[in-house]
Symmetry: C5
Subunit: 90 residues, 5 copies
């Protein structure tokens, strides 16, 4: 999975009809100190993640394995909100 | 999903027969201020996206989860046209 | 999909038996002016694409959605030969 | 598969309910001398891999082919703990 | 597919039980003159590829479409041993 931070939301009224009601969040990749990286992706939220939260994003076909994204043209889903990381220094 | 801008169209008469009638759009990646990046991909349009529009592209097997791409050798589909982004500054 | 140019062929007699008879083409990525990039991949041809032709390549599980690649260990297929691009300048 | 080293753990109480009980490990990519690289990913552990161990990670839909990740929104799984590498110098 | 060279083997006794008996080969990417590149991946061998051989690797779900990798948590498989390349100069 990708470790990221929610930095915003995408609004799109003209979309595949199966996507109505889904929340499209802008997620920037972060490093292990939560510093923002440049790359970002758009992910459907499935756990109520708000702007500013650190999250895990599953991509590819696995993104369709939640109740809200099942059988939909979605390739990235927020499936966890991170409490904390335990990282052993190198 | 990828955030991108439609910058053109690919014309291809010799193709897998299941692809007849599909529109192949050239989509350049954009950043959160809609500035074009170098990388691009070719995606089938499923929502009537025209040149110049900002769109969301789903890739991989999820690209086959729209009516027009179902069961076809397609790995990228335009599945939403973006109205606007709400981005919280860093 | 990837925009690419066929630059050669791979010959491999010792291979998974389901791959017998398939043509493995070397496809270099190109930019929107058809200039060759460094990265390349090997793709099965499904539309009779010859060396020098500009093509579209579908990758991942979508590569198995043509008659010649169905249920085979193939992750990239040439599924269209490009006639032309209409690109709107930036 | 990816060759990596477990460098920590992610704790997340608010997550897709199907993920309860799974262990999310932070895995940094390593080179063939086990030197850490910058890029990392989050993978579910399926073989009891602890911090400091060198592991193999399967990604994409293949990540769902273990007992603990079956049908879950998971795109990376630790499926082996490495004993050793035999590498022929260039 | 990826063009690569087998440069070694991974030994792992503690692994998903479905992986018992599989051979995990270290495959470095090569260019069209067979020069080694830095990036490498670990792939299951399905055609008896030995160290030093030039091979094709299929990744993603397609990696599970061989007899030895079917339904297993494997995302890369060696599915052909290359005899030769015919490359047309740029």
């Amino acid at each position: 999975m990708i470790l990221g931070k929610v930095v915003g939301t995408v609004w799109a009224t003209r979309k595949d009809e199966s996507l109505t009601g889904l929340k499209f969040q802008i997620v920037k990749h972060v490093d292990l100190e939560y510093n923002l990286k440049d790359n970002f992706l758009i992910a459907v939220d499935s756990v109520g993640a708000g702007v500013g939260e650190i999250v895990l994003v599953a991509t590819g076909s696995s993104a369709r394995l939640t109740a809200v994204t099942k059988n939909k043209p979605v390739d990235a889903v927020i499936m966890a909100i991170v409490d904390k990381l335990d990282v052993v220094s190198d």
